[in-house]
């Protein structure tokens, strides 16, 4: 039965690794300026851990095949090099991997989190609440009206708690259920949570960031391809979590201006 174990484990290991080795796994295309660094890091890691995975599984399969249920009185021996070899091998193999991935990987992370948005980046406020995203643009005056949680009235489409009666800045704010942005323009997303924790995840943008109640964060990105993409919530937020989504609508500059005009007329 040891031989059977060897065979089955070999099959499992090869089948498991097949999509990685042949690059046949599904991954949505990258439409961001920073995403390629993440994707490269991902594929480097895949190569290194694929090697570790196959190496260890095949070795395990081979050793079990070879050294199980031997004849009575078979000579018990130890691998040349013994424990020292194993420890040294682990340090060299994994140590370099850790260093390589750890150090190189920081570049991709830094691209996203350690760079400031450009001064001309367009600011959009995103609010996550049970169970929808809403986006707010400052409108013609370039200023966001203040948020008053007590004024939130969802049945009346006042998702942000604006107070147009007293706050002039809020009157021209554009509120939308989809995130329309111009292509090739940096966007700074100001993230605000209305109730519980949520997350902003766009697969194609290679962006994921939690909304934290009481802590307004921001992320910035540039989309390089027009089209509609899904924005989904990835932080468990309650019964409607599975259906908490919105669309990212990347538009050409002209289309974006048209969209803005249309929205202003609706306010």
């Amino acid at each position: 039965m040891g031989k059977l174990f060897g065979v089955i484990l070999t099959i499992i290991a090869l089948v498991s690794a097949y999509p990685i080795v042949t690059h046949k796994y599904v991954q949505p295309e990258d439409i961001s300026t920073h995403g390629h660094a993440i994707d490269e890091q991902l594929s480097d890691t895949m190569a290194e851990s694929g090697f570790a995975f196959l190496g260890s599984q095949l070795l395990l399969a081979f050793f079990v095949w070879k050294f199980s249920e031997r004849k009575a009185g078979a000579k018990i021996s130890n691998i040349p090099g013994g424990a020292k070899l194993m420890v040294v091998a682990a340090f060299i193999l994994i140590g370099t991997e850790v260093l390589a991935l750890g150090v190189l990987g920081q570049k991709a992370w830094a691209n996203v989190y350690f760079t400031a948005p450009k001064p001309d980046a367009m600011q959009v406020q995103a609010q996550a609440g049970q169970f929808a995203f809403y986006f707010r643009y400052s409108g013609p005056d370039g200023k966001f009206g203040a948020i008053h949680p007590d004024k939130i009235d969802e049945g009346n489409q006042n998702f942000f708690g604006l107070d147009p009666a007293n706050d002039v800045e809020s009157r021209d704010d554009i509120v939308s259920g989809e995130l329309a942005i111009p292509v090739n323009r940096e966007i700074q997303l100001l993230m605000h949570a209305k109730d519980v924790g949520h997350s902003f995840y766009v697969r194609e943008l290679r962006i994921q960031q939690d909304f934290v109640p009481g802590l307004d964060l921001s992320v910035h990105f540039t989309a390089t391809k027009t089209g509609k993409y899904e924005i989904v919530c990835t932080q468990l937020c309650g019964l409607g979590h599975y259906n908490m989504k919105a669309y990212l609508n990347v538009l050409s500059q002209e289309d974006f201006e048209k969209w803005t005009k249309q929205k202003i007329s609706e306010q």
């Binding site: 929808a132 009235d153 969802e154 049945g155 009346n156 259920g177 409607g240 259906n243």
Partner: protein, 237 residues
């Protein structure tokens, strides 16, 4: 002697029944119109892009229904009911139906009686959760996946209850749970009519979800129609 007593009782019963019938069929009526003065808030288009299966049912955007006005300053969706003077009625067995269709509540304001069955229907291809934000009654919050049968609920106490769907936050409606059968919800022209009122002194209340309540005293003496009008003050914001 005995036969006479029986026939007299029968006659009395008949007269009483006839009087009762008369009161039911005829009686007084309170009718009128609900209007507003001032500038009401503009209805806002509802962005349903989050739920494509609903969005595609509406070629033009659906508007918010918290304030729905009609021609000649008429105000729709106002619950007009007898808040005092009429006895509590037993609940009818026929259910009041609350439909979810195209990610909207139909009707927006549903009036029904205490302990009357409420039937909740989901006609959409998506899950809704029905969350009546009750304060006096027991609050509940239930999902209704697409394709599941309607469910039934009851409210044991009189209350105006805002209803919402958390999954589709724009979905907003109201339950008016009332003690007696004398109620109406104003229509597109703001009109309402409360028929079959036996003679007596009544307090008529009009309730609007944004503009609050107004009351008027009415005395019905016989088979008459009393005109009562309500005028709400509207604000642009």
């Amino acid at each position: 002697m005995r036969a006479k007593l029986v026939s007299m009782t029968a006659a009395a019963a008949l007269i009483f029944a006839a009087a009762l019938l008369h009161a039911r069929a005829g009686g007084g009526t309170v009718s009128g119109k609900v209007t507003y003065e001032g500038t009401p808030a503009k209805p806002k288009p509802i962005d349903m892009s989050k739920e494509p299966s609903c969005a595609k049912q509406h070629p033009t955007p659906v508007m918010t229904e918290t304030v729905v006005t009609g021609p000649n300053n008429s105000l729709e969706n106002v619950v007009v009911y007898i808040s005092a003077g009429a006895p509590d009625d037993a609940a009818p067995s026929q259910a009041a139906t609350f439909d979810q269709k195209g990610c909207q509540y139909i009707p927006h304001v549903l009036a029904f009686q205490v302990n009357q069955p409420l039937k909740v229907v989901n006609d959409d291809q998506t899950s809704h959760n029905i969350h009546p934000l009750a304060k006096i009654n027991h609050e509940w919050n239930k999902s209704q996946p697409p394709g599941t049968p309607p469910f039934s609920e009851k409210f044991g106490k009189s209350e105006f209850i805002p209803v919402k769907c958390n999954i589709h936050p724009w979905m907003h409606g109201n339950f008016a749970v009332l003690k007696n059968s004398h109620y109406a919800v104003s229509g597109g022209d703001g009109s309402f009519s409360l028929p079959n009122l036996p003679p007596g002194k009544y307090t008529v209340t009009a309730w609007h979800e944004s503009y609050g309540e107004q009351t008027q005293e009415v005395t019905i003496t016989g088979n008459e129609t009393k005109a009562v009008s309500f005028i709400f003050k509207a604000k642009p914001y």
